[in-house]
Amino acid sequence: MSDHDQIYSTKLQDKIERNTLLMFVLTAITVAIGGIVEIVPLFYLPNTAMCQNDPTCNGTSHKDLQGNAIPMDKIIWNPATSIHKTLDDWQPGDGVRPYKPLELAGRYVFIREGCFLCHSQMIRPFRDEKDRYGHYSIAEESMYDHTYQWGSKRTGPDLARVGGKYSDEWHRKHLKYPRDVVPESVMPNFFFLDKAPVDAVKLTKTMKVMTQMPFNPVPKTIYTDAVIAGAAKEVEGKTEMDSVIAFLQSLGNHVKFEEGVNYRD
């Protein structure tokens, strides 16, 4: 028996080591399993905010203290059942809604400037995070966030519920020259946003793209043709600074959270 015929491991392993195709196929299967098990169910199971064409969002049901299911249209804004029918009429507490045109333009700037590298948008269910940032984040709140922005690092504070905490004027000063407002801050100066106009063409295209998403698209009943057509006019004369401030002010106040409800189940 020559050295090359000797089996040093198992028969199967030896066979794999002699056959390129077999090695390739078995490796390709081995590395696929974990991802399939963890990812695919998120498109089907409850509590994942997968809501397209399904008002129950895969049967997601948050229950109050008495065990009564809270209707999903209390969590996710539905113009058909809400008393507020359009994006402009929407009020905080009506439920999760897509971004208004100016906010969406601001979100583009937020991503472009890499804000998510230092600011998370995901509050965890701990006492200190509740005291510091507010109610823990729920899946539905980021369902329209194509490219989620939960973040992984808090060099600066979490922004998931920053909306309404500071005035527009504070944000403007702070974004322009952070250390004028917070001397210890290490945030870069974003004064240049004040000079750049919002790109209305890009915004209009972005809104269209958001309605074309295969998963959780913005309903065409919300981004109606009229809303998309009116977007350019709505952001006329606005700067990127205005848009970022609008975006920040829109964060976190969509859902009216009630005591004692387990929103993550």
Binding site: Q13, D14, R18, T20, F24, T27, A28, V31, A32, I33, G34, G35, E38, I39, L42, F43, N47, T48, Y108, I111, E113, G114, C115, F116, L117, C118, M122, F126, R127, D128, S137, E141, S142, M143, Y144, H146, T147, Y148, Q149, W150, S152, K153, P157, D158, R179, V182, E184, S185, V186, P188, N189, F190, F192, K202, K205, T206, V209, M213, F215, R264
Partner: protein, 476 residues
Amino acid sequence: MEATNATPVKYDMDVVRWFTIMAVVYAVVGTLIGVYVASELAWPFLNFDIPEITFGRLRPLHTNAVIFAFGGCVLMATGFYIVQRTCATKLWSNSLAWFTFWGWNLIIVCAVITLPLGLSEGKEYAELPWWTDIMIAVIWVCYGFNYIMTIGIRTTSHIYVSNFFTVGMIVMITYLHVVNSLAIPVDWATSYSIYSGVQDAMIQWWWGHNAVGFYLTGGFLGIMYYFIPKQSQRPVFSYRLSVLHFWTLSFGYVWLGAHHLQYTALPDWTGSLGAAISLAMIIPSWGGAMNGMMTLSGAWDKLRTDYILRFLVTAMAFYAMSTFDGPVMAIKSVNSLSHYTDWTVGHVHAGALGWMAMISFGSLYHMVKKLWNTEIYSEKLVNIHFWIALIGATTYVVAMWVSGIMQGLMWRDYDEFGTLSYTFVESVSAMHPYYVMRAVGGAIFNLGTWIMLYNVVMTVRQANAVRGVSAVAAKA
């Protein structure tokens, strides 16, 4: 490992030489940008009010430069080197390898231009614009196809374990990159992921952690299993352990991404599953680390004289340390403290500087000697590089561990009245000394890469002077 053929095989090594040189260059550039972004956090005036160099735009350039430029060139240089030598054959296609070389470097040029301009898809380690993503997919598949076909035409009977690790990486990175990058373009500069919220978060960290697991770990374990035995001139400690290491690591690593999302809006079962498998992963990781280290058993004295071997063995120590640190951080109670803090940054750099860069430096020095068939210009400088790299990496990692734990503790601290003890910004200013220390550690590490660049350039020049001119080496 190499077949003892009667007629020696003429390998295609020119492309390997070029990947090797570029790897050394990108080591300098990538860590230099890292030092700069680290300094921006310590001294924010360094943003200089220039949008293109603000932290938010430069940080992705740092991560892309070290992972894809430096790491990529190391993986392709060593990959093409190992596959030829262990299969005792030329590359399946030398021209395709050259196409891979130019394509990969073109992608890096695109990254250098687009990232400072603010083109970002908003996903960590996958910021590059959609058309660059397509280029990456094409070039990566070219690399992988060439690699696997070269295994296919091998003249040896068995496929060596290094090639298993590399093929695992090639397949997994293809899955990850394609699935995670699916997006709808708005215009040439901007696109939006087709996923949102929970699904996007899980897919992103499936990508994020397995870029670490297969690209920065699997691929580099392939390097380890070739270069440690070669440099120490000892057979791998345990062949069976290496087989076990490969299959368990390949199966298990894929599950870990979910541990980045503990206590988020991701369903609890997913994060817990990720944490459980993370803990189990200590076993294959440490098995592999032991396998690398024990390869030296009976030859430990070589560490006294062989500086290249020092790099390789220290890398295994850092590998063992990071693969312990990681599972600990995946435990939910630990994660509640460590997540969102600098601890994560420290963990990543223990792996990146201590394990990945060290094993790369060792292998690059080894290859430079073989590729140009010469001795290193200065062994002494290799030794100095080793100590500088070790001191730099340790300084960096310690700074981030301390700052991370401190941050986590400050955020959750309550005073006797039941109110939060610290405002957020107090935690920011408390980090300043550690951010300075981190920048210094990074700068020390970067200094080492300059020394390496000098040493490698001088080695190549010396080799050319002795042996006349090789077209490639002359240009290098």
